[in-house]
């Protein structure tokens, strides 16, 4: 490993360089990194306008730094939160320093959260970004995990989209270990085992009417 020449003794360094011996590569075969490539163009019939097609593909490194334990936790099937030792507030998503101005950026400590949550608010998506279209309709819930003061967004599975309720109890379910990548998509919410949906009502029916065509539309996607 090469180090900056001017930093000749270990104590001069701000922090030791971590060594990354656990490496995983799960890049799909069709994701190529070619950088900038002109891949085509079009010219209007009157030859006054030209459009050019530029393809750009770039690998980014998200360095999670002080937040890393949360994402490593996901690989291990844990939800790690942080907690302020001064005021006791806790969070998922995590904060490395307290948000309370009176705590003056107090460094927080890690706490493992229980795998339970409560719906704060929710929606049923019938449209989404390019990478999610085939999974529609998607229930997105904002839920407070464990003691977290803030709500975290994630998908809610294993229920009809029209049956979601404000305040409903949830459990956190992880993907099988070999499918986890250390991203928030490693887990999702499901209704708590003891929860039962309430009977059909006009609002639920309205949501059902809006959602049914989405199931049909998704079937037409290639």
């Amino acid at each position: 490993m090469t180090m900056t020449v001017s930093l000749n003794s270990k104590k001069d360094r701000f922090a030791d360089q971590p060594n990354f011996s656990e490496k995983k590569d799960y890049r799909p075969a069709d994701v190529k990194e070619k950088g900038l490539v002109f891949v085509g163009h079009e010219i209007s019939d009157d030859r006054t306008a030209m459009n050019q097609f530029l393809h750009y593909d770039q690998l980014y490194t998200i360095r999670h730094g002080w937040n890393s334990k949360f994402f490593i936790g996901l690989l291990e099937g844990k939800i790690m939160g942080t907690r302020c030792p001064k005021c006791g507030d806790s969070w998922v998503p995590v904060r490395s320093h307290c948000w309370n101005l009176d705590c003056n950026l107090e460094k927080t400590e890690w706490v493992e959260m229980p795998l339970t949550a409560k719906v704060h608010t929710w929606t049923v998506a019938g449209w989404s970004g390019r990478s999610s279209l085939k999974r529609l309709p998607i229930i997105l819930a904002y839920a407070n995990i464990g003691t977290s003061k803030v709500a975290m967004a994630n998908e809610l599975h294993k229920m009809n989209p029209w049956d979601v309720e404000f305040g409903m109890p949830l459990k956190i379910v992880f993907k099988p270990r070999d499918q986890r990548v250390g991203a928030v998509t490693d887990f999702h919410f499901e209704p708590a085992d003891f929860w039962k949906p309430s009977p059909m009502n006009p609002e639920k029916q309205r949501i059902k009417d809006l959602v049914m065509p989405v199931y049909e539309w998704v079937k037409t996607l290639k």
């Binding site: 306008a49 994402f71 948000w99 929606t123 989404s128 309709p137 949501i207 989405v214």
Partner: protein, 416 residues
């Protein structure tokens, strides 16, 4: 202490998706300035002493510092310039920066050029680009697009405020129909039809309770606003200038879920506010603007507004954050159509984001230009008829809004 700030002119290109006729950004900027000069013949490029550029995402143009292309195209080399970026509130923030520059006494004549070219990628890719202003570590992968975050917030807000899908559909239809009187509006140029509440209700689900016609349009467009001292305004356009009598800029969390139990808001507005439902940064920036402009009762003192209706639901939430109605009155306020052209406080006579379009960096400036036209009596010249002219307005509000309510600005403009 500070100097009076005026708006003396402005224009936009037509907003569109795909071919517009102004397809280079620098060409669009030049045309906006030329249109402003037709309205204000005394205004010369030589008068400018600062240029501020308003642009959200370089992802769309795949060009870093694209303002440099526009600036030298305009022949303005040597003039100081910089870009302001603040999500959907980029336009409002650029106006804020221009006003500060004039107020400070350091600059006298400031041009703002704003633009976005969102049709350079597919619609769904474009939605994903914009959503990269959400926290990509926690939210992008699970929500993917802003309408979903807004729908989750609106769903709870509507419940708590007894506002129905039909109520917000009134707002959606109003703005798209207002746009039918505005030849530069994207809804006029593309869809080109009047719609009803039923049309909105039966449009496809985007994210409950938001449907297709509750959503704004992805756009390509450029806008220009000319901000200056009163001395310069009196010199070049004495009969058609407006003053920025109040302005405010405020902020909130990037992730909407982090607004619960937030200690700073709790300290400011009491426990439970804003939750995931209210736009605290809108309320806060409006309070600053009202105080500065001496507005006591916004419903009485403000005649109309051009506000950030990215979704029909957000326009409803903004009414409340601006203090036009409260939890008890908001549903009736909407149902009585108080914000239609016939109402006592028309909102988005220019069509808003739902009708005019939402090329992010140009949007807040478009709202400013429309508000300026109303106050300067220029609507008969700019719109197709007098149907969308507010009758003898003295005071208008411009609202610009970013993220999930993460940055919001408000401006009080008065006819001089």
């Amino acid at each position: 202490m500070s100097r009076k700030v005026c708006i003396v002119g402005g224009a936009t290109t037509p907003f569109d998706y795909g071919p517009t006729g102004f397809e280079s950004i620098e060409g669009g900027a030049a045309e906006c300035i030329k249109e402003t000069q037709q309205d204000v013949p005394e205004f010369s490029l030589r008068d400018l002493d600062l240029m501020i550029y308003s642009h959200f995402s370089v992802h769309f143009s795949h060009q870093l510092a694209p303002e440099w292309i526009i600036h030298d195209h305009l022949g303005l080399v040597g003039l100081p310039h910089y870009r302001v970026e603040n999500g959907g509130n980029t336009g409002g923030s650029a106006l804020y920066a221009a006003a500060l520059a004039v107020m400070s006494g350091h600059h006298d004549v400031v041009g703002i050029v704003g633009w976005e070219t969102m049709d350079s990628v597919s619609q769904s890719q474009g939605s994903e680009f914009i959503a990269m202003a959400s926290d990509i570590r926690y939210e992008l992968l699970v929500g993917g697009i802003y309408p979903i975050y807004y729908a989750a917030m609106a769903n709870k807000w509507m419940k708590e405020n007894h506002v129905t899908e039909e109520d917000v559909a009134i707002i959606a239809a109003k703005n798209k129909n207002n746009a039918m009187d505005n030849p530069k509006a994207q809804w006029y140029r593309n869809d080109h039809r009047y719609i009803t509440v039923d049309d909105v209700m039966s449009s496809r689900l985007i994210s409950y309770p938001i449907k297709k016609y509750d959503c704004c349009l992805m756009s390509r467009g450029v806008a220009f606003v000319l901000v200056c001292t009163e001395e310069y305004a009196k010199k070049v356009n004495p009969d058609q200038y407006v003053t920025i009598d109040g302005m405010g800029l405020s902020s909130c969390t990037i992730r909407a879920g982090d607004r619960l139990n937030n200690p700073t808001w709790n300290e400011h507005y009491g426990p439970g506010y804003p939750g995931m439902t209210e736009f605290a940064a809108c309320r806060n920036s409006a309070e600053q603007a009202y105080k500065m402009a001496g507005i006591k009762d916004p419903l009485k003192d403000i005649d109309f507004g051009e506000i950030h209706d990215a979704f029909s639901t957000s326009e409803a939430q903004i009414y409340k954050a601006l203090g036009l109605a409260d939890e008890k009155t908001i549903a009736k306020f909407i149902r009585d159509e108080r914000t239609s052209m016939q109402g006592d406080i028309p909102m988005n006579p220019g069509g808003g984001l739902l009708g005019y379009g939402h090329p992010v960096g140009a949007t807040g400036l478009m709202s400013t230009v429309e508000c300026y036209y109303q106050l300067a009596g220029m609507i008969p010249k700019k719109h197709l008829s007098k149907k969308t002219e507010v009758s003898e307005p003295e005071c208008g509000i411009v609202n610009s809004h970013a993220g999930t309510g993460t940055s919001i600005s408000n401006f009080i403009l008065r006819r001089h």
